[in-house]
Amino acid sequence: DAGITQSPRHKVTETGTPVTLRCHQTENHRYMYWYRQDPGHGLRLIHYSYGVKDTDKGEVSDGYSVSRSKTEDFLLTLESATSSQTSVYFCAISDLGTNGYTFGSGTRLTVV
C-alpha cells in the first residue's frame, strides 16, 4: 500500500557511468524531492519539483539532474557518477498539508 516507491533499491556502478534513480508516487502530490543521506550530514536536498516539468535546485545539486514528465514520476540522474556520490538516496512527496513528507524506502548507491 506504499504510496511512494523507489527503484532500484540497491545499485553498484562504476565511476564515470551515468545512473538514473526512479521515484514513483500514487498519491498525486504536487511536490517531490530528492535527498541524499550521509553519515554526519543528515538529509540534504538535491533537487525538488513543484509540478510537471517544474524543478529547482537544492543545496547539493552539482553533478545531478532531474526530470518530471508526469505527476507520478521523478527521476534523478547522476550524469557521470563519482565516488563522492556513494550515498543513500531518498525520494519524498508532500501535498503542503499538515501530514509532512512521506519518504520512499531509499536507494543505496555505491560508486566504485
Binding site: Y35, G42, L45, T98, Y101
Partner: protein, 111 residues
C-alpha cells in the same frame, strides 16, 4: 543553512524522559519532526506551524518558539520502540515547501 540539533546522542532507560532541541538561524514558518530507524526511511511525527503551538503524538510532544527560532521534542516515559534517530526539519519564512534537516539526534532506549 542547516538547523542545529542537540544533543547529538542520548541513551535512556525505559520509562525515562528526553528532550531534543532544534535551533535555526532563520525566521521559521514551520518545523517538522521525523524518526528514522536503522536501515529504514524517515517517518513523519508532527509539524508545528508558526504561532508557538505545542502538539502531541502519544507520549511524544513538541513545542515551537517562533521568537527564538527553536523547537523542542519531548519524549516522556520512553519505550524501547522510541529508539532511532530523530531529525528536525525547518521551513524558513518565504521558502515555499523546502525542508532543511538538522544533523539528527540518535536516541537509544535500553530495558
Amino acid at each position: 543553512q542547516q538547523p542545529v540539533q542537540s544533543p547529538q546522542a542520548v541513551i535512556l532507560r525505559e520509562g525515562e524522559d528526553a528532550v531534543i532541541n532544534c535551533s535555526s538561524s532563520k525566521a521559521l514558518y514551520s518545523v517538522h519532526w521525523y524518526r528514522q530507524k536503522h536501515g529504514e526511511a524517515p517517518v513523519f511525527l508532527m509539524i508545528l506551524l508558526k504561532g508557538g503551538e505545542q502538539k502531541g503524538h502519544e507520549k511524544i510532544s513538541a513545542s515551537f518558539n517562533e521568537k527564538k527560532q527553536q523547537s523542542s521534542l519531548y519524549l516522556t516515559a520512553s519505550q524501547l520502540s522510541y529508539s532511532g534517530t530523530y531529525f528536525c526539519g525547518t521551513v524558513p519564512n518565504n521558502a515555499g515547501n523546502m525542508l532543511t534537516f538538522g544533523g539528527g539526534t540518535r536516541l537509544m532506549v535500553k530495558p
